[in-house]
Amino acid sequence: MSLQNEVTSTQPDPRIQEYLVWYSSSWVVRAVESLVSAKDFDPSAKTIAQRLNITVEQAVESLEALEKLGYIIKKNNTYIKVENVTVINQAVVDTSDLLKIHSNLAPQIMTKLDEESIFTTRILLGSMPLVKKHSHKLIEFLKSLNDEGEQLEHPDVLAVEISIAKISTDVRGVQ
């Protein structure tokens, strides 16, 4: 798996592998990463911990992991997100690794759902080529959400999990 940003690739750290695993398997570090882009971001570990309902240790570890991975940098007594680095797609990570990452994170997001959340479960007709044809709408939706969220004075941190699976088998030609 190659998720480490080039910024830190020349500074080997024995914990890099551990950070990568954590980044790929826990919502905590992802949430801290998102929070760094918020207009009202306070770099105090205590504030981050309170805002995300995590422990102070988790907040400290997350900041350290993100910094070592090169996803955020320290600047003027705060942290800023390094642009265009945390795009994880099939170009850098194998599809099976992507599925592992998704399978770790998706159930964690589910546990944050409550009656106020937005959720839907549908079984419908379609095809994977059709899903691919329309998937840009979902990407645009996520981008708009994040772009406008970054403009809010006091944004929330949201978790979105989207899974579309083919559940039927191909029986064309079978009598």
Binding site: V21, W22, S25, S26, W27, V28, T55, E57, Q58, N104, P107, Q108, M110, T111, L113
Partner: protein, 133 residues
């Protein structure tokens, strides 16, 4: 990319990162360098014997891998699992730390959405031990 092409790609990478030339590995696999090259480029299929020899030259013992897999499968077949609870315990123990914490959180959540009260003790234990998710 077909599985055959993927295997060829990985072998090509291993050869590149190993000491010795492509010709050295071809010799060890008892094939010609041009034949190995055709295989690595996906232009032809390699005989099983040559393939095993090539893997051995790369430090991969296919027989040992198969032996391990067979041992693992037979020990899994010997498990005495009778109920869904047995399965749950077995599968849970096989998870890594993140997996265990994720599944415990999910169980708590599933209980809560099922309107089944979660004992305070469970919440305390999870709060103390959940360090990753």
């Amino acid at each position: 990319m077909t599985k055959q092409e993927k295997v060829a790609k990985y072998i090509s990478m291993l050869i590149t990162n190993s000491p010795g030339t492509q010709k050295d590995f071809a010799n060890k696999a008892e094939i010609s360098a041009s034949q190995l090259n055709r295989y690595l480029n996906g232009h032809s299929e390699m005989q099983l014997g040559s393939f095993i020899l090539l893997l051995e030259a790369l430090g991969i013992d296919l027989v040992e891998i198969l032996k391990l897999k067979t041992k693992k499968a037979s020990s899994l077949d010997d498990l005495d699992l009778k109920t869904p609870e047995d399965c749950l315990i077995h599968l849970f123990r096989g998870l890594d730390q993140v997996g265990q914490q994720t599944q415990l959180n999910q169980l708590v959540w599933a209980n809560e959405v099922s309107k089944k009260p979660v004992p305070a003790q469970v919440k305390i234990i999870l709060k103390e031990t959940n360090t990753l998710v």
